[in-house]
Amino acid sequence: MYRYDEFDHAFLAERVGQFRSQVARRLRGEIAEDEFKPLRLMNGLYLQLHAYMLRVAIPYGTLSSAQLRRLGEVARRYDRGYGHFTTRQNIQFNWIRLQDAPDIMAALAEVGMHGIQTSGNCIRNVTADQYAGVAADEIEDARIWCEIIRQWSTLHPEFSFLPRKFKIALTGAPADRAAVKVHDIGLAMRRAAGGAIGFEVIVGGGLGRTPMVGKTIRDFLPKEDLLSYLEAIMRVYNRYGRRDNLYKSRIKILVHEIGAEAFAAEVEAEWREIRDGALRLPRATIAAIAAHFAPPDYEPAGGDAAVLAADRLANADFDLWVRANVVAHRAPGHAIANVSLKKPGAIPGDASATQMEGIADLAERYSRGEIRVAHEQNLVLPHVRMRDLHALWRGLIALDLADANLNLVSDIIACPGLDYCSLANARSIPVAQRIARRFADLKQAHDIGELKLNISGCINACGHHHVGHIGLLGVDKNGEEFYQITLGGSGAEDAAIGAIVGPAVASEKVVDAIENIIGTYLAERRAGERFLDTYRRLGAKPFKERLYATH
């Protein structure tokens, strides 16, 4: 893992001191809210429905056990005993007191954490494939490049007041687990014909009010040119991006309005001016960053696969969990274990302080002290020996975190919605809970197979509803909660924006509607087809006919 150096720690300590002084002046009434608001937002402190909310950055979703333990301590001491992992691989605390915020920031700074770049019109915290560095299908570890981008973008003076917030995601594998095509910039590592490794550069994707799949503006960018090319993109956006209309200020609108080709031409022209300048990455710099992410010294396999097979044969529940939640690792004898934060009936993405501390303990025992956060609001233990999986699973059972439902219907992405968020129009969490309870039977959920169900409480789409195989968008109709249903979305390498299937349904009918849609899939699917495959083969018609015949 990347560890902060003296400069990083000194900077954070300075920032904590500044914020402590700003909060004190605010509480004494020496600065007004209009003056204070941008200062607190620059540190990730929002004011939501019930209290202040602190969003803490987890760069590219990578956490040490010490950091996760500290997050648990913050939850216990300063919040109500839990935190909420978000679709941007961050964590939010919902019940923060302003007077405590400086102490919380100081506690986070001790473990190299903060809320910088989690708000405002800057380059936000960079997100990545949660399996970066360990995935069997990976070309190269995305975290190296995320860290390089993080260092370049943090407090970048030229890009601190962009037309709008700016999100970059990166995958190092052909399978896109980071939803790179629906980000302002998506970077996908590619291997050229000659074997060289570089990036496909995708620009202008995004969700929200105007969902768009990004356009590739460069098929292959050499690695050493990454920062100069990103800088060129940012300069073009900063120059031409609209500042007169909030709803048209994201880069996706600019790319759409002038066209991807014209946008690419602008970027290439700008890039020609700067590509051989200071931003060209020397090999030594890349190597120095890469050294932080060197693979651990994995022990030889030593019969791990046989031990795991025996454990699976001996326990059907464990076998089910392995099938659903364990993913192939690049090192022999090892596995990637996903920890579902989606117990049916629980709040998607929430973890209690006890759970956070318990996972930190398990990570130290079984995963080299490392944890990842997935944008699907689950956690990952990336370095588990196969022979340890059964003991890990037992440990997760003790924490009530052993649900075998990864990528299944109850693994629902949901934003905080109207229960917490001041922007929301409708609730997300109770709808997710009701759907997950309806499909709590794991046998049924496994029979349905992979199904991404995403819920947003407003058009800002923090719940990524546009890219759910089934998406739900909460809307307010004359004071009543209704939910618009979209089908066929995908945030993966086959990215697509879901299509609205028909009129929105009332809150009390949502669960039946989902069951109806899944019923159509089960009736129509061919062998081996996922929900998304059946939908793509048949289109919306059979789903729509059956859904609205009974509603």
Binding site: L27, R28, L49, L418, D419
Partner: protein, 104 residues
């Protein structure tokens, strides 16, 4: 739900901890919606102005007037959003507050 169309309540978040508060009849702020003073249209502007002065005094932030409705003879916020602000999230939390939290 029976609306009480002309009744308004002043709400805000307390500056120090962000708690949802309501302006009561004494000019103080209470975390209990039941303590809120509800006024008719002719006094709404005055209530808002008085509440707003407490923003200048760094007591509260985000002062607003909200509509209230009468349900079973008792007033409550008219919108779902404001009912959630008044009475808390509609969902059970991962862990209940450690204690001492005032009832709303």
């Amino acid at each position: 739900m029976v609306s009480a169309p002309n009744l308004k309540v002043a709400t805000a978040n307390r500056l120090g901890d962000g708690a949802v508060v309501y302006r009561d009849r004494t000019g103080s702020w209470s975390t209990r919606f039941a303590d809120a003073v509800a006024v008719e249209e002719d006094l709404a502007a005055e209530l808002l102005a008085a509440a707003g002065r407490d923003m200048d005094r760094a007591i509260v932030v985000g002062v607003a007037l909200i509509e209230v409705a009468r349900v079973d003879g008792r007033l409550q916020p008219a919108s779902l959003r404001e009912r959630i602000r008044a009475f808390g999230p509609s969902i059970a939390l991962a862990m209940q507050p450690p204690g001492g939290e005032e009832s709303r």
